[in-house]
């Protein structure tokens, strides 16, 4: 355990993150990069971006609460120090996505109201299941919920958003690529550390599996309503592209995001995340459970 955990040290984190891929960035993107001008001329497009960014902020707030809560119940010093870096990563994500809301024209005074207006209630429930475990000081279930389920979902969502933004919004794409790099460490830690703990505490399996099923149900409900709410804004983006004679092909797991309808996009994201869960859970000795409908 000691050897693998040395890969998750703060020293390693310093070298790879602040002194590595985040060097010379400002709020996660290159200095001077801006949101595309067209966003500010079209309220439907701007609102669509605000809506999706609100859910990123809420997801990251949950991750911040969970990872900080887990430091206290971690069973060893090396896990505590890794979770300390994860806590800071999550706070950085809260900060950069909040900054994006400001860049999109949300005033700081309206931040909480905007989050309440656009935040997805299913995502809040998803977070509540996790935070209940953390509040009880349940390290094993907490890490499965946070570093496998929540982070696994975030990883795929960020990748999809990144694929969609790469061509049209380099600023947002750069912001996302830093968060994706962070998530890689988080899911890696979750899998590696919990794999050993599940062997040590097999009696925890059933509880973790139940939690995964519950969280997955809330996640699917989140995806369903998020894609539905984003439909008009997606259509508008396509209409504008067509009007301007632009052709874009943003590929994500074999689906062209620029051409697919929202049902197809939702299906590919849900399918990707659930498959990932299945694979990861299998590797750590847990059996994947079908989502419990929210």
């Amino acid at each position: 355990m000691t050897n693998f955990l040395s890969g998750y040290s703060i020293q390693k984190w310093l070298e790879s993150c602040p002194q590595g891929y985040l060097e010379d960035t400002v709020y996660g993107h290159e200095a001077g990069e801006k949101e595309p001008e067209g966003l500010f001329d079209n309220e439907l497009l701007r609102e669509g971006q605000i809506r999706s960014t609100c859910n990123l902020v809420l997801g990251e707030r949950a991750a911040l609460a969970a990872s900080s809560g887990l430091v206290n119940c971690a069973p060893d010093y090396k896990s505590k120090t890794f979770l300390a870096t994860q806590t800071l990563d999550e706070a950085r994500h809260v900060e950069i996505f909040t900054q994006r809301l400001f860049d999109l024209g949300v005033s700081p005074a309206d931040l909480e109201d905007t989050l309440n207006e656009f935040g997805n209630p299913h995502l809040v429930k998803f977070a509540e299941v996790l935070l209940e475990k953390v509040d009880k000081g349940d390290f094993v279930a907490g890490v499965v919920g946070q570093n496998i389920v929540l982070e696994g979902m975030a990883f795929s969502v960020f990748e999809m958003l990144h694929a969609g933004a790469q061509e049209d919004n380099p600023k947002f794409a750069h912001t996302l690529s830093g968060t994706i790099a962070d998530e890689r460490r988080h899911v890696g830690f979750g899998e590696n550390r919990i794999g050993a703990l599940i062997k040590q505490y097999p009696e925890k399996k059933a509880e973790c599996e139940r939690m995964q099923a519950e969280m997955s149900g809330h996640m699917l409900a989140t995806f369903a309503s998020a894609f539905k709410e984003g439909e008009a804004s997606n259509e508008e983006a396509r209409r504008l592209q067509k009007e301007q004679g632009k052709e874009s092909h943003a590929m994500y797991h074999g689906v062209d995001l620029a051409q697919a309808d929202t049902a197809e996009m939702e299906a590919v994201l849900a399918d990707t995340v659930l498959k990932e869960f299945k694979t990861r859970l299998g590797r750590i000795g847990l059996e994947y459970q079908s989502p419990i409908a929210a």
Binding site: P18, A65, D76, Y77, K80
Partner: protein, 256 residues
């Protein structure tokens, strides 16, 4: 982008947003942690230490680890009930700082030949410090923001600030660099605590009496701990610095 910016021209709101942000922390630690793996320049050579000195240093570092673990567990726990988002983000930088301190101290212990630090720390733990940690975590568990900030960011941080600075003056070159790096972080933590509590005490003066009782309870635990620590470092009698000065200065500014 301009090469420099006058900080004194910021409004108070802009200043607080700036210093509590990840971006600020990021630009700050880059200045003094770059090229210093585990908190010191890798070219620094270890000096010869006799067994007594080495043993004293190990005991001291073990107790620093207890202090840093207490701060790590407390600051992470406080995020959940911090009063605003900026404080949550600041505390997350403190969590990473405390985690780094713990890591560099554990690394130093391994350099000094300690094979099982968890066991060694338990064996050499100072009872007063363990009691302090217990009380601090009780404040955190009961989500008592004022008491937790006071115990951690004022009492514990200002005493660590003094002890580490004093120890750094007499330490071997590697330990010295590690401690100097930690002291820079402690400035932020201490300043956050004093300023946050200062604002709160103005708005809610009745908090004063409650914190005064906590101060009286914890004073003796921490002062005893650090007095013993200085003994382990061989800094006793006239040589011993006035440990309480920074701490007493901070609490005097807060009206205690």
């Amino acid at each position: 982008m301009a090469e420099w910016q006058d900080p004194h021209k910021l409004t108070e709101g802009e200043f607080l947003d700036q210093v509590h942000s990840f971006e600020f922390w990021f630009g700050t630690v880059e200045g003094y942690l770059h090229d210093r793996p585990y908190g010191f320049d890798a070219e620094t050579e270890e000096i010869e230490m006799d067994d007594r000195r080495k043993d004293g240093l190990i005991t001291t570092l073990c107790n620093y680890c207890i202090g840093e673990t207490a701060a790590l567990e407390a600051s992470s726990g406080m995020i959940a009930f911090a009063p605003d988002r900026a404080s949550k983000i600041f505390l997350s930088t403190q969590v990473a700082d405390e985690g780094r301190h713990l890591e560099v101290l554990l690394h130093r212990l391994s350099m000094l030949g300690v094979r099982d630090p968890e066991r060694e720390i338990e064996a050499r733990a100072n009872k007063s410090l363990l009691r302090f940690k217990e009380r601090l975590l009780e404040f955190v568990d009961s989500r008592d923001w004022e008491a937790a900030v006071f115990a951690q960011n004022v009492i514990l941080e200002s005493l660590e600030f003094t002890v580490f600075r004093t120890h750094a003056q007499n330490a071997d070159p590697i330990t010295k660099q590690i401690l100097q790096g930690i002291v820079i972080d402690e400035r932020r933590h201490m300043g956050f605590g004093e300023n946050d509590l200062g604002r709160r005490l103005i708005l809610a003066p009745h908090t004063h009496d409650r914190l005064d009782r906590i101060k009286r309870e914890l004073d003796s635990l921490v002062l005893t701990t650090f007095k013993q620590t200085l003994g382990e470092l061989g800094l006793e009698g006239d040589e011993a610095p006035d440990l309480a000065s920074d701490y007493l200065g901070a609490v005097a500014r807060l009206g205690f």
